[in-house]
């Protein structure tokens, strides 16, 4: 039974200035302190509160769409749910297996062949060689790249590369899908196929969380909506309501 429970979750992201990144600065600051007079503490660590006291509960069948302007904390929240950012305060409890579908192109080697990249990316997703080998055929078939998979992916077109990335990312079984923008891939026929697979996964997956700026995508795939503003939950409820409620009305 997949579930996600967030309680007063707060994320503070340290913004380390050039000075705070420097060991010299710290040493100099310490040396000055020893002198008895602190002229400048010098550590310049400012903190951005990316998420502020977020609480919600998601259970099986919940599909949450995150909306809000750039910098509202949508992507940060996705990364918290993916276990990448540890909470600065509050708690997150998650049950279920993740299918992270953001940044699906990171870790690919342009000089390596399609097959080698399946292996490479699979390992970065935490799969062992054997686990990847078991699903390589299926990935190859779905991507429809055929013998291109024996060529370095640097020779692929952008659409072909994306097809491969998508096929690998969706090959794992899981029940919590995390997406930063809906992925649309390839030519028309592949897009339909990809769409179908996405629906299949989101259909059987327990939970979907997607950050998007496209109201149509959200209406089509989500049941719940959450509007984030400056790291706070401005609105949370059925997606139609959250989408239709004017932004300024929220503040009141």
């Amino acid at each position: 039974m997949p579930s996600i429970v967030l309680e007063n979750l707060t994320i503070d992201i340290p913004v380390l200035s050039i000075r705070a990144r420097s060991l010299r600065t710290i040493a100099v600051a310490k040396a000055r302190a020893i002198g008895g007079r602190i002229i400048d503490s010098g550590s310049h660590v400012s903190v951005v509160r990316a998420l502020d006291q977020i609480s919600f509960t998601l259970g099986r069948g919940d599909r949450l769409g995150l909306i809000g302007p750039n910098g509202a904390g949508k992507s940060t929240l996705i990364r918290v749910l993916a276990d990448i950012y540890a909470p600065s305060a509050g708690t997150i409890e998650r049950q279920g297996t993740l299918i992270p579908m953001f940044d699906i192109g990171i870790g690919f080697d342009p000089e390596a062949t399609g097959y080698e990249n399946i292996m490479l990316r699979g390992m970065m997703m935490g799969l062992t060689r054997r686990e990847i080998a078991a699903r390589t055929d299926e990935i190859a078939a779905f991507s429809e790249l055929g013998e291109y998979l024996d060529l370095p992916i640097r020779t692929y077109s952008a659409g072909m590369t994306l097809r491969l990335m998508f096929s690998i990312a969706t090959s794992v079984a899981g029940d919590i899908i995390l997406m930063d923008e809906w992925i649309s891939v390839g030519d028309e026929s592949f897009q339909i196929k990809a769409q179908k697979r996405m629906l299949e996964i989101t259909g059987k997956a327990g939970i979907l969380v997607i950050a998007s700026h496209d109201p149509n995508t959200l209406l089509q795939h989500c049941t719940l909506g959450m509007r984030l503003e400056k790291g706070r939950v401005a609105d949370f409820g059925p997606i139609e309501r959250v989408l239709n409620r004017p932004v300024h009305a929220v503040a009141e």
Partner: protein, 265 residues
């Protein structure tokens, strides 16, 4: 504060280092393959590069130390191979987490894997370089004792020592970005203070200082057995101690700071 959850997560990562070791070792192999993919000799270029240097230095520098080429050439070659391993690992450790920033912020892969991937890549290089030593043996024929296999034990110890040390360096460097150049300076400094191109027994003064340099022990346990040079039991004990200490310190540091790394990269 959910600190026990964070500690659990870090400990799970450390357990995965052993349980899922095929992941980081395969990624290291992929790196080597990728780097030499388009060249004729492939990864043998590693061997050739080292071979050329060892030959050049080994043939000529022996005379400065009053040594016969038959003893100096293998001595320098073995020293150089081992030192290159230490130096590249320490140097690359300072960039290993910073360089993997995108992956750290997008995948569930245990962060420590990025460090081991780098380390293992360098182990593969060391094994390529060992070919040089084997290749020069028929020409120089220094006496090989059965105890030469102890070099392998030495290499394992050195590897463990570097696991801990790299973790410490990598974590410090991801937080303080002016440390990598400092590490480079330190490596340079150690190069001249470690008996790599010269013999420890030639030292007239400063032997006490040599004993303070941990690299001396870590180098000797790998290099000396294969050359038939005696290694004191005390050297082994110190090397084991250093490896254990570095592993413990590295693990503690990882458990303590793992949660911060994604914020720092």
């Amino acid at each position: 504060m959910a600190s026990s959850i964070d500690a659990d997560r870090a400990l799970r990562d450390l357990r995965d280092v052993v349980v899922r070791s095929t992941i980081w070792s395969s990624l290291a192999h992929a790196d080597i393959r990728s780097k030499y993919r388009l060249s004729t000799f492939g990864s043998l270029w590693i061997t050739l590069t080292t071979g050329a240097l060892a030959l050049a230095i080994g043939l000529f520098y022996g005379q400065f130390f009053g040594q016969d080429i038959h003893s100096y050439l293998p001595y320098f070659t073995a020293s150089y191979i081992t030192w290159t391993f230490i130096a590249s690992v320490l140097g690359e450790a300072s960039h290993s987490l910073v360089g993997a920033g995108n992956l750290i912020k997008s995948s569930q892969m245990p962060i420590v894997f990025h460090i081991l991937r780098m380390l293992h890549r360098n182990l593969i290089i060391v094994l390529h370089n060992a070919i040089v030593l084997i290749a020069i043996w028929p020409f120089v024929r220094w006496s090989l004792h059965p105890s030469a296999v102890l070099s392998l034990a030495g290499l394992v110890l050195l590897y463990l020592f570097l696991v801990g040390t790299s973790a410490i360096i990598a974590i410090i460097c991801v937080r303080y970005r002016d440390v990598p150049p400092l590490i480079q300076v330190l490596i340079q400094f150690l190069f001249f203070l470690t008996p790599i191109i010269w013999y420890p027994e030639q030292l007239k003064f400063g032997t006490e200082f040599l004993k303070l340099n941990p690299m001396t022990y870590m180098l000797m346990i790998v290099r000396d057995p294969i050359l038939g040079r005696p290694v004191e039991i005390q050297t082994w004990i110190i090397a084991i101690g250093l490896s254990a200490a570095s592993l413990i310190a590295g693990s503690l540091m990882y458990v303590r700071f793992r949660r911060r790394i994604a914020y720092w990269v």
